[in-house]
C-alpha cells in the first residue's frame, strides 16, 4: 500500500489519492505501534539503502505546528528525516483540538511547537528541535539559520509569512514545499528557486473588503449588516479607546456653522457611547430610536439613493415599546428569531454590556466566543437586515461570518501534508526508479472538491511551471547576501553603499534604494537627504533587505535588473568592512511598447459613487494559528485572473460613462 502511494507516476496520482487517506492512516497506525526498526525497513524498501542514509543526514524545517504542521511533523518522523526543526509562534487553543491531533485539553495555552515535539517522542527516531517564535523575526531566525536546511515545509495560515518564507528560500536557493487548505480543498506546490514558479509568481486573492457606503448607507447582503454591527456600531458604542474626533484643526472650511455640523455628525455616535457610559438602561430605547428609526429616516431623505434600490423601512416604534415589557426569553443562537425577539434581545444584551463596562471592563472588543458581544452584534445586524429587507440569520450563522470562520477539516490537512511530504521525496530526488531530471518534471497538486473545478476529479496535479518573468520576487529581481561588519554598519554611509553597489553590478547614475523590511525609500534620483548618514543611522541592520533598482536605463532600451540584498553582519575581517555577493546582474531590455494604460488619459466623465474608503471584514482573533482560516490559493482561478487582467490592459474604456 505504501509503495503504491509513493509511485511517482503522475497518471497514478489521482487513483492513489483515493487510497491516500487510507494508506496514510494505515501507515500512521502501523508506524506508531511498531518499532522504529520495522519502520526503517519500510522506508528502506521505498527509497533504497543508500537514499535512506541520505534521508537520515537531511535536515528539514516545518514552519507552523498547527493543522498542517502537526501532520507534517508526524509524516516527516515516519519518513526518518535525520533532523526536524519546527517553528510556531502560537499557543494551543481549545478550538485547535479537533484536528491538531498531537494536542490534548491539558496542553491548552502551551506553546504549539514544544508541545508537538513532546507529543511525538514515543514514536520518534529523528532529532527534533522546536522553536517558539515568529518565523519572520530576523533576530531569532536570520537567513543563515534557514540556510542549514535541505528542505523547508510550509504549514502556514497567512499570506505575509508565506511570502516571507518564499523569499528566504529564493535568497538561499532551497526547495520549499508550500501548502494550504480551506475546508475540503487544499493544495501543495513544490518551489525550486530559479527553476519553477515561486509563491508570488501567480497573483493571490486578498481578503474581501466592502466600501464604507455599502456598510453605512446601502447594505444589500446579511454580511454588510454584520460588518456594520461588528466593525462600526459595536466599536462606536463599547470601544472607549475610539477617538471622538480626528483632524480637529483641519476642517477645510472657515464657516463656523459648517464646522459645528461636521462635529455634530462625528459626535452623534459618540453621544450614544455616552449613554452606554451612564449605565442608565432606561436610555437604551434612545439608542434604538436613533439607530433604527431616525438614521433610517435621514437616509430616506436622500432620494437618489433609492432610485434603483428598495427603500428601507424604519423600525416600528411599537416594537421598541413592546420590547420593554416583553418577557425575556434568552432564545437559542441556533434558531431564527422574529423581529420582536431581536429587539427585545438587543435591549437585554445592551444592558448586560453596559453593566460590564460599568463594573470595570473599560473597553469591550467583539469576540465571537464572548456570547454577550455575539448576541449584540447578531441582534443589531438582524434588526438592520430587517429594515433593509435583507434575510435575517441565526446567531450561529452570524458567529461564523463575524468570526471569519472557515471550517478546517482534519482529513484535508492529512491528505495535503501527506502529499507534501511524499512530493519531498521527489524534490530531494530520493526515488531512484523515478529520478527527477529537471524541476519542471515535478508536480503540484490541488483538490477541488468544493469548487468542482476539476470536473469530478478529486485532485489535479499539473506539472510545475517555470518562473514567471514578471514575478516581483523571482522574475524581476536578482538577489544575494550582503556581508558587513558592525564597524561597517556604523561607518559606511548611504552614498558609499550606493557607490559600492553601483560599481560592483554596473548600475548607471540614477538608482533607488529601498528598505523593503518596512517600505522606506532611503534614496533615489530626487532624494539624497540621507546620503551622508551611516547605514546604522539609516536603521539598516542584520536582517534588513534592501532593494536596489536602476532608475535610468543603460544604452537606450535596456536597463540593469534590480537586486535585493539581505544584510548579514559578520565578525570580519572584511576588505572595506563590506562584501557584496558575486551575482551576475543582467541587462534586460524593456519593450518599447508603452503599456496600454498610458493611452487612457483624460477620462471625460467619471462615475462617482458613494465610497467612503474600505472596511475590512476584520482580522479575526486567530490569524496566527495554523489550520483554521487561511486563504485558499486556487491555481486555476489565479491563472484565469491573470489572463483577464492582460485583456483589461488592452481595453481603452477605462472609466464607464454614466
Amino acid at each position: 500500500m505504501t509503495y503504491l502511494a509513493l509511485n511517482p507516476s503522475t497518471r497514478l496520482l489521482q487513483m492513489k489519492l483515493h487510497n491516500g487517506i487510507k494508506s496514510m492512516k494505515c501507515a500512521y497506525i502501523e508506524a506508531l505501534g511498531s518499532s522504529s526498526m520495522a519502520r526503517e525497513s519500510n522506508i528502506v524498501k521505498i527509497v533504497g539503502q543508500e537514499n535512506h542514509k541520505k534521508l537520515r543526514s537531511f535536515k528539514c524545517l516545518i514552519v507552523g505546528a498547527g493543522g498542517i504542521g502537526s501532520e507534517l511533523l508526524k509524516d516527516c518522523i515516519l519518513m526518518d528525516f535525520g533532523e526536524i526543526h519546527i517553528v510556531d509562534l502560537d499557543t494551543i487553543d481549545l478550538s485547535n483540538l479537533n484536528r491538531q491531533f498531537l494536542f490534548r485539553q491539558r496542553d491548552i495555552k502551551q506553546p504549539k511547537s514544544t508541545t508537538a515535539v513532546k507529543a511525538v517522542q514515543h514514536f520518534n527516531n529523528s532529532k527534533l528541535i522546536p522553536y517558539q517564535g515568529n518565523v519572520m523575526d530576523t533576530t531569532q531566525f536570520p537567513l543563515a539559520w534557514f540556510g542549514q536546511f535541505d528542505i523547508i515545509f510550509n504549514g502556514l495560515d497567512n499570506l505575509a509569512a508565506r511570502r516571507y518564507v518564499n523569499k528566504m528560500t529564493q535568497f538561499l536557493g532551497k526547495p520549499l514545499l508550500e501548502s494550504g487548505t480551506s475546508g475540503f480543498d487544499g493544495y501543495i506546490q513544490p518551489i525550486i528557486p530559479g527553476q519553477t514558479e515561486c509563491f508570488d509568481c501567480t497573483p493571490k486573492e486578498t481578503p474581501k473588503t466592502f466600501p464604507v457606503c455599502t456598510i453605512r448607507s446601502t447594505p444589500s447582503q446579511p454580511v454588510h449588516c454584520i460588518v456594520w454591527a461588528k466593525n462600526f456600531l459595536f466599536n462606536q458604542l463599547f470601544n472607549t479607546d475610539t477617538p471622538a474626533n480626528e483632524n480637529t484643526n483641519d476642517w477645510g472650511t472657515e464657516d463656523q456653522a459648517e464646522i459645528e455640523r461636521i462635529k455634530q455628525e462625528t459626535n452623534e455616535l459618540h453621544d450614544l457611547q455616552k449613554i452606554i457610559l451612564t449605565n442608565d438602561d432606561s436610555r437604551i430605547n434612545d439608542i434604538l430610536v436613533k439607530l433604527f428609526i431616525r438614521d433610517i429616516e435621514k437616509l430616506l431623505q436622500i432620494e437618489n439613493l433609492w432610485k434603483t434600490r428598495t427603500k428601507p423601512s424604519p423600525l416600528d416604534q411599537t416594537l421598541i415599546d413592546k420590547a420593554s415589557k416583553a418577557e425575556l426569553q434568552n432564545p437559542s443562537l441556533s434558531s431564527l428569531w422574529d423581529i420582536q425577539e431581536q429587539v427585545t434581545e438587543f435591549i437585554r444584551v445592551t444592558k448586560v454590556l453596559m453593566q460590564r463596562i460599568h463594573e470595570g471592563e473599560k473597553s469591550l472588543e467583539f469576540d465571537k466566543d464572548d456570547e454577550d458581544t455575539l448576541r449584540f452584534v447578531s441582534t443589531a445586524a438582524n434588526i438592520r437586515s430587517h429594515i433593509f429587507n435583507i434575510p435575517v440569520k441565526t446567531g450561529f450563522d452570524i458567529k461564523q461570518i463575524a468570526g471569519n470562520i472557515i471550517p478546517a477539516i482534519a482529513t484535508t490537512n492529512a491528505v495535503i501534508a501527506g502529499l507534501s511530504t511524499l512530493t519531498a521525496l521527489r524534490v530531494l530526488n530520493l526515488l531512484s526508479y523515478a529520478p527527477t531530471k529537471k524541476a519542471t518534471d515535478l508536480n503540484m497538486a490541488f483538490t477541488a472538491k468544493a469548487s468542482n473545478l476539476s470536473m469530478g476529479r478529486y485532485i489535479s496535479n499539473p506539472k510545475l511551471a517555470p518562473p514567471n518573468p514578471a514575478c516581483p520576487v523571482g522574475g524581476k529581481v536578482c538577489r544575494g547576501v550582503l556581508k558587513i561588519t558592525e564597524k561597517g554598519l556604523n561607518e559606511i554611509n548611504l552614498s558609499k553603499l550606493i557607490d559600492f553597489i553601483r560599481e560592483k553590478y554596473e548600475y548607471p547614475e540614477e538608482t533607488s534604494i529601498i528598505d523593503t523590511s518596512n517600505q522606506r525609500l532611503l534614496a533615489d534620483y530626487d532624494f539624497d537627504d540621507l546620503e551622508c548618514k551611516t547605514l546604522a543611522d539609516c536603521k539598516l541592520h542584520a536582517g534588513s533587505v534592501v532593494l536596489f533598482s536602476d532608475e535610468e536605463g543603460v544604452d537606450g532600451g535596456s536597463y540593469r535588473k534590480a537586486i535585493e540584498l539581505y544584510i548579514e553582519t559578520v565578525k570580519g575581517p572584511l576588505e572595506n568592512e563590506i562584501n557584496l555577493p558575486d551575482v551576475v546582474v543582467p541587462l534586460v531590455t524593456v519593450s518599447e511598447q508603452a503599456p496600454a494604460t498610458e493611452e487612457q488619459e483624460e477620462p471625460s466623465q467619471l462615475k462617482s459613487e458613494t465610497d467612503k474608503g474600505i472596511i475590512d471584514l476584520g482580522s479575526e482573533d486567530e490569524t496566527s494559528t495554523a489550520g483554521k482560516k487561511r486563504p485558499l490559493v486556487d491555481i486555476e482561478t489565479n491563472d484565469a485572473k491573470r489572463i483577464k487582467l492582460d485583456q483589461d490592459d488592452n481595453n481603452d474604456d477605462l472609466i464607464e460613462l454614466e
Binding site: D515, P603, S608, E609
Partner: protein
C-alpha cells in the same frame, strides 16, 4: 506589503517624474526618520481653468494599502472639504477608486489625479456623500457656487 506593491509604487514615482499633468504635484510623505513613505503620498489638484474651481490647488492625500495594486489607494481631501461627492471625512468617492466598481490594477497615479480633478467640476448628484454641498448643488445653485468660490480662494496658491 508584497514585493509587487513596493515595486509598483517606485514605478509610479518614476512615471510621475517623467510625465505629469501641468499644475499638479505629487510626492511621497516623509517618515519621522527622514526616509520617504512610498505608501502615503501628498498631491495637489489644480481646479480646471474656466470652472468655479479655477485658481485653487486642492490638497489630497493618497494612501496605498498593502494589497495595492489589487486594491485601490484611498484618496482624501482635508476633512470638511466642500463637494457633493466628498465625505465629511474628506474621503473621495469615485468609481475608479472602488474595488467593486472600476478600479483596475493598471490605473496610474496620473489617471487618479486627473479623475479627481474632473470630479471637482462635474459632481454626481446621484451619489451624495455629504449633506451641505449636495443639498446646495441640488436646490440652491447660487449658494453652492458662492461656497465653491470661497473655497477656491482659500486654496489659492
Amino acid at each position: 506589503m508584497s514585493s509587487l506593491c513596493l515595486q509598483r509604487l517606485q514605478e509610479e514615482r518614476k512615471k510621475w517624474r517623467k510625465d505629469h499633468p501641468f499644475g499638479f504635484f505629487a510626492k511621497p510623505t516623509r517618515n519621522a526618520d527622514g526616509t520617504m513613505n512610498l505608501q502615503k503620498w501628498e498631491a495637489g489638484i489644480p481646479g480646471r481653468e474656466g470652472t468655479l474651481w479655477d485658481h485653487g490647488v486642492y490638497p489630497i492625500s493618497i494612501e496605498y494599502p498593502d494589497e495595492y495594486p489589487s486594491k485601490p489607494p484611498k484618496v482624501r481631501f482635508p476633512a470638511g472639504f466642500y463637494h457633493p461627492n466628498i465625505y465629511p471625512s474628506g474621503t473621495v468617492c469615485l468609481s475608479i477608486l472602488n474595488e467593486d466598481q472600476d478600479w483596475r490594477p493598471a490605473i496610474t497615479l496620473k489617471q487618479i489625479v486627473i479623475g479627481v480633478q474632473d470630479l471637482l467640476d462635474t459632481p454626481n448628484p446621484n451619489s451624495p456623500a455629504q449633506e451641505p454641498a449636495w443639498k446646495a448643488f441640488q436646490r440652491n445653485r447660487v449658494e453652492y457656487e458662492k461656497k465653491v468660490a470661497a473655497q477656491a480662494k482659500q486654496y489659492t496658491k
